[in-house]
Symmetry: none
Subunit: 440 residues, 2 copies
Amino acid sequence: MTAHIINIGDELLIGQVVNTNASWMAEELNKRNIKVTNISVISDGGDDIRTQLDSSLAEADVVLITGGLGPTKDDITKTVLCEYFGDTLVRHQQTYDNVKKFFERRGLPFTEINQAQALVPSRCRVLVNEVGTAPCMVFTIPNPTATFKQGASKKTAISLEEQTASSTEKIVISMPGVPFEMKWLMQNSVLPLLEERLGAEAIVHKTILTFGIGESFLADKIADWEDALPQHIKLAYLPEAGKVRLRLSAYGSDNAVLESEVAAQIKQLKEIIGEYIYGYDDETISSAIGKIVNRRCALLATAESCTGGLIARRITETPGSSAYFKGGIVAYSNEIKEQLLGVDHETLEQYGAVSEQTAKEMALGCLNVMGADYAIATTGIAGPTGGTDEKPLGLVYIAVASRDEVVCEKYIFRTTREQHQERTANQALFDLYKLLTKDC
Amino acid sequence: MTAHIINIGDELLIGQVVNTNASWMAEELNKRNIKVTNISVISDGGDDIRTQLDSSLAEADVVLITGGLGPTKDDITKTVLCEYFGDTLVRHQQTYDNVKKFFERRGLPFTEINQAQALVPSRCRVLVNEVGTAPCMVFTIPNPTATFKQGASKKTAISLEEQTASSTEKIVISMPGVPFEMKWLMQNSVLPLLEERLGAEAIVHKTILTFGIGESFLADKIADWEDALPQHIKLAYLPEAGKVRLRLSAYGSDNAVLESEVAAQIKQLKEIIGEYIYGYDDETISSAIGKIVNRRCALLATAESCTGGLIARRITETPGSSAYFKGGIVAYSNEIKEQLLGVDHETLEQYGAVSEQTAKEMALGCLNVMGADYAIATTGIAGPTGGTDEKPLGLVYIAVASRDEVVCEKYIFRTTREQHQERTANQALFDLYKLLTKDC
């Protein structure tokens, strides 16, 4: 089953609001083997809505629409849909009662403009919205022929009595754009309805998380494996700041078969690039670290200069991190490096704050001061100023330490300040991950 | 001028990635009075790209495409565009040199697959990407006639010599989908290019940054002022995590006139909501704080529990923050609160870690230990677990201190862990801002 998502709203087109509805909907649909082939953001304009409906109905089995269902004049989705499907508006009693109660509970007057929320096209099926005033409307229409492509402007929705849930029918579902109302309707009514209509197609996704190897080098390394993938298993590369996620998507008719096919592919992949893999699916590098440190009943601490707290922030994003994260010191000035972390004054004088020696002393001092078992330290030049010939912008030393050893690596990330901090934080977490797993 | 945005990428269609590129681009275009009439997310598939190009070129003056420009096999945007415009790929020397340097600087081999990044269609104008390897490509084509609507599959791009920047020409711009590369290209090349084509219209934007008042209360307070705005000055509300940005956009023919009109409106606005305003335009609350602290030749430090380093991270995002940010302590465990910040053991025993007393002692200890003039301290329950009847999830104490006083406020932010940390960090920075400015 394929779906198009249409998000109606000027606030999306001027960039005022990030379209989180679309990604949430796409993820939920995808989990249920419904393939989203297009997401379109359009204005609250009749022509735009009709044009998009024409093309979406020509291409997708299900069209999910959000937005434009409010009581004000700029909300026209319902009227446009009613005309588009050659229908007329009638009062939907359950919605009327629901909206009336909604206003009564809040002690607000039930005005004419709000009563209009209970009008719906006569041939649509209404899914009652218990968390707002705009009803969700489902239109069922015969599988359109090629005439859709020629932009015939009106289709007739099948009346409720005629509907057969035939697989040749297409459906259009209109929901409010308010995220929590949309989510409530999707979870309580729309997704169950779609699941009912679903055929046998199965999809399995698995994301392999890699770090420390660029996209193109990864592609080179796995080229033979990738070429040998069967037609029904697709690979996507999703790179970001030093990390590349590899997503395998398998399409077929039997979930269990696909699961085992994907598992077999991943087993092969691990033999080729196992050293770069730190996790799967929604795992983060800091949660992967957290799991290991926690399993060892150990404690982790950080000593950050150029990353300014970003690494501690990453670690503490993970729920439950208080069990293994002792704390961190953001040693932005040399004084703090000396006083709180115990970095030798001589070291700072002789080698400078941005040096391997300082990074190592920061990491060891951090273990000590914090009473931790593992530590991460960073010191570098994030920019935009402060570079020299000898120590250019982008230079950074990352030290990771256990009670047995301290390892320091030098990197140069020539990017913006923000990107430098992101890259350094990611690299530092990965360096610790390597230290934690090297003997496993 | 109208624009369509096309975001290519399967990761967007399965909801793995939220489409933040589209909203950022739409906002930047909107500021320049370029009206985005459609945002489409489509797959890395040739047919989808061609179909969308057909309809976007029929409707918009400018088509901005992101994604599908990586070196791997699933990235096909460049090949599809080349075919679509009836062109052939040639090496672009400047890009070749740039990509070569990119790999050399990193000590990485310049493989064939990466050399292919320097191939571009012969008739496109290349905007060199200095922060990545995929070049940005600009195709200029004659204003398409109705034939576009009939889905003619090939258009011929105008060669570089023939291009006249005529207003009847349409342009298609293809950029990488990696957000920081896209943003760099937009800011450095694409937006200036579009501004050039826009001609004489003058636009002035000014964003007023407010904190500590909800959108609807703000709207109530400024309703009369808003109603009295002249037709050519528009107001937009941009709310996020406790902050509301108000953007004024003035459209006309004379920049200087618009500037003074907008300044006069802001003067009036300050009289109504001055106490909530902390800055303008791209300023952040941490850069606003930085300016004040720096001007006073003072030093700032942080002591964070529940925010886990996020406040230090915010402060150090600002370039030059090393001049006034001494450092921070992420005191995630009680031991660290006692040992490094000098919080009294009795205080922790009697009132608990999440209490006004602890927050105040953290702030004062931070001033002391760090040798700073101003300090921020946070302690709270971010969740998802750890709440009690007495101290519910979402509870947080924020203390801000100068050498003269310490002020502590209690808040309850009932949201997700991530949102709680965001809200707390924003509120803490704003509380310090209030302390810094109260006698000004």
